[in-house]
């Protein structure tokens, strides 16, 4: 049985529009002008139990709205959805026992109290007995490496530490499905890696399905098997992450530094030179058109390499490209 089934989901909001400044405010007061925002426009997809699915798209694409509908917080304007067999907005409380949620920008841990207090409270709220809660805390403390943080008031934790606690808290009641809305937002590279590793581990060990929204291609690569890209409330691309990578993350940026001065003469076919200095070079090429080893060989022949950085194009670029190539409704 799929853990999420969504069919033709729509959500529109009415928002008041107001011209700038005081005059606009006064006019809006007497003659409010409404305009309709279509946050989600006919979304349909499925997610299998235990699957790791990435949900990406630019700001305002409708990711968070979808997640909020799937947790039952928002009522959709039309369409159907089933999460673990429940209609979320009708059975919100029953569904809550089986899903865990993290909204990256907001805290759910009690700010002034140590995280362990919130964990114990959640244990009560999800009707676990105290012994079970403690055992579970123990396990999560290990998985998320938060044992030393649990007794510090949450306000004294760093963002990375807090997010580890947040995600751990959402797994306390052994949910079958984890809905993560931007779990890595604002985190540094190390903290991101930490969180991803822990989520992947828990997902594998307990067969928890993960639906994750993100801006970060790294989250997708590290965690997700499949990806759905949405924009303007519609699916614009849906495929395995490996295919996405093969198709789109092929333009690599390489920056190298040399121990000694080198002659700035790098002319390789199909390679775009972005910057040349006497101690290094920055270039870009498409791995499907130019062989990687040819480029590398060329670079190392030029002198003694002391540093190398390889980077993917930013996800925004990839999405922009996908969006150009795939009109809404088209699926690969």
């Amino acid at each position: 049985m799929p853990s999420i089934e969504v069919a033709n989901l729509q959500k529109t909001f009415q928002t008041k529009r107001k011209a700038a400044g005081m005059r606009g405010s006064l006019r809006a007061l007497f003659k409010p002008e409404y305009h309709t925002v279509e946050a989600v426009r006919g979304l349909s997809f499925q997610m299998e139990a235990g699957e790791l699915l990435g949900f990406i798209g630019p700001n305002g694409a409708g990711k968070s709205t979808t997640i909020k509908i799937l947790t039952g917080i928002l009522h959709p304007t039309s369409g159907n959805a089933k999460v673990l067999g429940f209609v979320p907005w009708k059975d919100r409380q029953k569904l809550a026992y089986h899903i865990g949620t993290v909204f990256g920008q907001r805290p759910q841990l009690w700010y002034h109290l140590p995280a362990v207090d919130t964990f114990m409270l959640f244990g009560k709220i999800f009707e676990l007995d105290d012994r079970e809660t403690k055992k579970r805390i123990d396990l999560l403390a290990e998985a998320f490496d938060i044992r030393d943080l649990l007794e510090t008031p949450v306000r004294k934790l760093s963002l990375g530490q807090r997010m580890r606690c947040e995600v751990a808290a959402s797994l306390l009641h052994r949910p079958k499905l984890l809905l993560l809305d931007e779990p890595s937002i604002g985190l540094d590279v190390v903290a991101k890696q930490h969180i991803r590793d822990a989520i992947r581990k828990m997902s594998q060990e307990e067969n928890v399905g993960v639906l994750l929204t993100s801006h970060d291609a790294g989250d997708l690569e590290a965690l997700c098997r499949r990806v759905i890209i949405i924009n303007h409330g519609q699916i614009v691309y849906e495929d395995k992450v490996s295919n996405l990578k093969r198709k789109f993350l092929t333009r690599k940026m390489v920056e190298v530094r040399y121990a000694e001065e080198v002659s700035p003469n790098f002319s390789i076919d199909g390679v775009e030179i972005l910057k040349v200095g006497s101690y290094g070079v920055k270039l870009r090429f498409d791995t499907t058109k130019t062989p990687v080893d040819a480029v590398m060989a060329h670079l190392s022949e030029a002198g003694e390499l002391v540093d190398i950085t390889v980077s993917d194009p930013p996800l925004e670029e990839v999405i922009a490209k996908i969006y150009q190539d795939n009109k809404p409704g088209m699926r690969t």
């Binding site: 917080i73 009522h75 809550a96 920008q105 907001r106 009690w110 109290l113 114990m120 709220i125 008031p153």
Partner: protein, 261 residues
């Protein structure tokens, strides 16, 4: 049930995390009692009398102490809900397996218990110094019992105002109107005895006196007849508000929009 008790005790713990906040609150109740004792002292001196409509100066000071204890300790959950709607935190509150209204009831009661206990201790100390010995134990008992009903009524009122936040987000203005109604018709500033008879009748037909006058008045002058009258009034209004609240909650839930993200 267990989960709601845990929420309550969590909120108590949360309140104890900031002793500085405590000190500020006790200063404010002490100041208010001091000011009102001065006002009433002057009033009694000018009118050259021991009792106005049956209430003496010490009665008035202890009355005000109880009313202020409740006013400063009553729930303010409309602000909490409004805050949570504005910053989107409401998403976390809504997706847990508990009743949203009962969650706020428990959390609000946790706040209320801490605040009212503190107000009662500091307020009693100040009132004792200014007005002499406190009311008899039966007064304390009647006040305590009607305080529960009064608190629940306040909660329902604040929750109704708070739910408006699902639609209009900001609810402070509603709270201000409500607070002024309690101040006047609820007998916060003046006990109902001081009103003309016709205004007393109007006030008693409204929920406000049961939210403020009841515990304060029974505290200083416990009377069995009035006690039952107040309890009955509270029971009726609680019943009305609970029906109203559940109806409004079901409606407003569908209209919620969550900010951000």
């Amino acid at each position: 049930m267990n989960k709601y008790l845990s929420i309550l005790s969590m909120q108590v713990t949360n309140n104890l995390a900031y002793p500085g906040d405590f000190l500020g609150r006790s200063i404010s109740i002490a100041t208010f009692i001091f000011i009102f004792a001065g006002l009433w002292g002057t009033t009694f001196a000018i009118s050259d009398t021991d009792a106005i409509n049956g209430l003496t100066l010490p009665n008035m000071i202890w009355y005000f102490m109880m009313a202020e204890t409740l006013e400063l300790g009553r729930p303010r959950i409309n602000r909490t809900i409004s805050e949570q709607v504005k910053n989107g935190e409401v998403a976390y509150i809504l997706n847990k397996p508990y009743n949203f209204i009962l969650y706020h009831f428990s959390a609000g009661l946790g706040d209320g218990i801490v605040r009212m206990t503190l107000n009662l201790i500091v307020g009693s100390a100040v009132a004792w110094i200014l007005a002499g010995a406190p009311p008899a134990p039966v007064g304390w008992l009647m006040a305590f019992i009607t305080l529960i009903g009064a608190w629940i009524l306040h909660f329902c009122m604040m929750a109704l105002i708070g739910l408006a936040a699902f639609i209009v987000e900001e609810t402070n203005s509603f709270e201000l109107i409500y607070q002024k109604l309690v101040f006047i018709l609820g007998g916060f500033l003046l006990p109902l005895e001081m009103f003309p008879a016709w205004l007393q009748k109007i006030a008693l037909a409204l929920p406000f006196p049961y939210m403020m006058y009841a515990p304060a008045r029974l505290f200083v002058k416990p009377e069995m007849g009035l006690f039952w009258q107040m309890l009955a009034g509270q029971a009726i209004w609680v019943a009305i508000f609970v029906v109203l609240l559940s109806f409004v909650y079901q409606r407003s839930e569908k209209l919620l929009t969550v900010n951000g993200g």
